[in-house]
């Protein structure tokens, strides 16, 4: 039971980091970067390739993270900015970011081939016993990174003027620009953070998945499902959605059948979208609103 929970939270943190990458980009630009999953794959395969060439692990990891970040920013300049400059309300980024995803995936498939590439085991080789459950050091680091991502995001958004400016851009970019916000710089920053988080998720999950060019599809889709479960409006909730998805998927694997996590997330997201369309963590607001209207109605009746 504890093992299911801990393993679920670890996997969920990976989904959550990808979901946060989606959500932070969306928060600032109202664009979904469909190449996010591919950025995770890029960091994994670069580490695999560079380590195979004889580079030290840490150099491979740094290169992987930098590449994912740079590719995230490049996606903005290649696939998003031109489209939005042409028409601010265009939805053409749906196709153009997907195009970037396909190009990245095809390029890496061409270079690496479809076979699985080894990934340095690193911290994943060290197990830690926690009562009846076992985690590896890598998994514990993963959980810590997830926690750090949520807390860091919350602190910046809530307590720094820069975070508040980001929130202002999120709600009204035009007026934010009239108080001095460089909206383009914020968009670039969002795509950079998104790329970095996706790359980080790749480094953390690499020892488990190994590298192959089609990982981006899997993690892109699961990250997107986590985003739908948590709610797209708040990046911290997206991480929460990842955790819920992770725990329930591992539980489904354990209690329903070994392949249940292949289909279970889709059932889960359907249920979530049916019951609370704005995500699990927005439902509190909806409940409160419901009670408020009822109370207001009753006060009206009593008056």
């Amino acid at each position: 039971m504890l093992q299911v929970l801990l393993s679920g939270l670890t996997v969920g943190t990976i989904y959550g980091l990808v979901a946060m990458a989606f959500a932070i980009v969306f928060y600032v630009t109202k664009v979904i970067n469909f190449a996010t999953g591919q950025l995770l794959m890029v960091s994994i395969l670069l580490v695999s390739g560079l380590v195979k060439l004889g580079l030290p692990d840490w150099l491979g990891i740094v290169t992987g993270l930098v590449a994912a970040t740079v590719l995230g920013v490049a996606t903005y300049f290649i696939a998003v900015r031109p489209v939005l400059r042409f028409d601010r309300f265009s939805f053409a980024w749906l196709v153009s970011t997907l195009g970037v995803a396909i190009v990245i995936q095809a390029t890496f498939a061409l270079i690496y081939g479809p076979a699985s590439q080894p990934f340095p085991r690193g911290l994943h080789a060290i197990p830690v016993r926690l009562g009846p459950a076992t985690l590896t050091v890598q998994e514990i680091v993963t959980l810590a990174v997830g926690l750090l991502a949520i807390v860091g995001w919350h602190l910046v958004r809530r307590y720094t003027l820069l975070g508040k400016l980001g929130k202002a851009i999120s709600t009204d970019p035009e007026i934010a620009s009239t108080v001095g916000a460089n909206v383009t710089a914020f968009a670039v920053g969002a795509f950079a953070i998104g790329g970095f988080l996706a790359g980080l998720a790749g480094i953390l999950v690499g020892p488990i998945t190994y590298g192959n060019p089609y990982l981006g599809d899997t993690y892109g889709i699961f990250g997107f499902i986590a985003l739908m479960i948590g709610g797209i409006q708040r990046p911290a909730a997206a991480m929460g959605g990842g955790l819920v998805l992770g725990v329930l998927s591992i539980a489904a694997n354990t209690y329903i059948g070994a392949q249940a996590s292949d289909w279970f997330p889709f059932v889960l997201v359907l249920l979530v979208l049916l019951l609370t369309p704005n995500g699990v963590f927005a439902s509190g607001d909806q409940l409160r609103r419901l009670f408020r209207t009822r109370r207001a109605y009753q006060q009206g009746v009593n008056a």
Partner: protein, 243 residues
């Protein structure tokens, strides 16, 4: 009247512009002197908001010359113009949703974020002009009444300490009492020698607050004059335009 002097807060010459290559305003020319309050009057659809948006850098298609405090900004993006040249009270206030009154004000002054003392001084100035909103500083700004929200919007503009203040229909949608407060506040700003460009539909407020007025119709300036010269005849003319 046409001379460009160093002391002008705003000089606009030959300004044309609009949306998607479809011009809304044509060959506009006017000026706001330093410490002067000028009103832009005109009927709905005359292009008043478009002129204001062009000055603030929000209008992508604009040509001609727009000089704020001696700097040509016709090609500058809004976040550059916001660095001390101009600040705006937009039509409909547009406070930052989900943020407190104080955060809205501090965001208005974000260009001065390195200068703590100046920011606190400006904040004190806003609260001195609008004591009401100091009591609500921790409340969510958009939960305030219309009049109070307008005070926050004006305060947000004041926090930037700009060379030129732009106000787009601040009286719109306010209760009569709130409008009285508003015009008192605008007069106070005027007394502090701020350079102000006010777009209004309410001629009485414009004449009360401003030194000079321009009348805009069909995207062109059709009349101008001193507010003090506006007798009953002038008012009737303006009213006819505002129809």
């Amino acid at each position: 009247m046409s001379a460009t002097t160093q002391t002008d807060a705003l000089v606009v010459e030959g300004l044309s512009g609009g949306y998607d290559r479809f011009d809304v305003v044509h060959d506009i020319a006017f000026r706001v002197g330093c410490g002067e309050a000028v009103a832009l009057l005109g009927p709905n659809g005359a292009g008043k908001t478009t002129v204001l948006r062009a000055i603030m850098g929000l209008l992508r298609h604009r040509r001609g010359r727009i000089e704020i405090d001696g700097t040509d900004v016709v090609a500058a993006p809004p976040h550059r113009i916001a660095r001390g040249l101009a600040a705006m009270v937009p039509e409909g206030r547009r406070l930052f949703v989900g943020q407190s009154v104080e955060d809205n004000l501090r965001l208005g002054g974000i260009r001065l974020r390195g200068d703590r003392a100046r920011t606190e001084e400006l904040l004190a100035g806003v609260f001195e002009l609008f004591p009401v909103i100091e009591r609500y500083r921790d409340r969510e700004a958009t939960a305030l009444s219309g009049g109070e929200q307008q005070m926050v919007a004006i305060g947000r503009m004041m926090m930037a300490d700009p060379a030129l203040m732009l106000l787009d229909e601040p009286s719109l949608g306010l209760a009569p009492l709130a409008i009285a407060d508003l015009s008192a506040a605008l007069r106070r700003l005027r007394e502090q020698d701020r350079s102000i460009l006010l777009v209004e539909q309410r001629v009485d407020i414009a004449l009360e607050v401003c030194d000079r007025i321009y009348v805009l119709s069909g995207g062109r300036i059709v009349d101008e004059g001193r507010a003090s010269d506006m007798g009953a005849e002038g008012r009737a003319l303006i009213d006819a335009y505002l129809g």
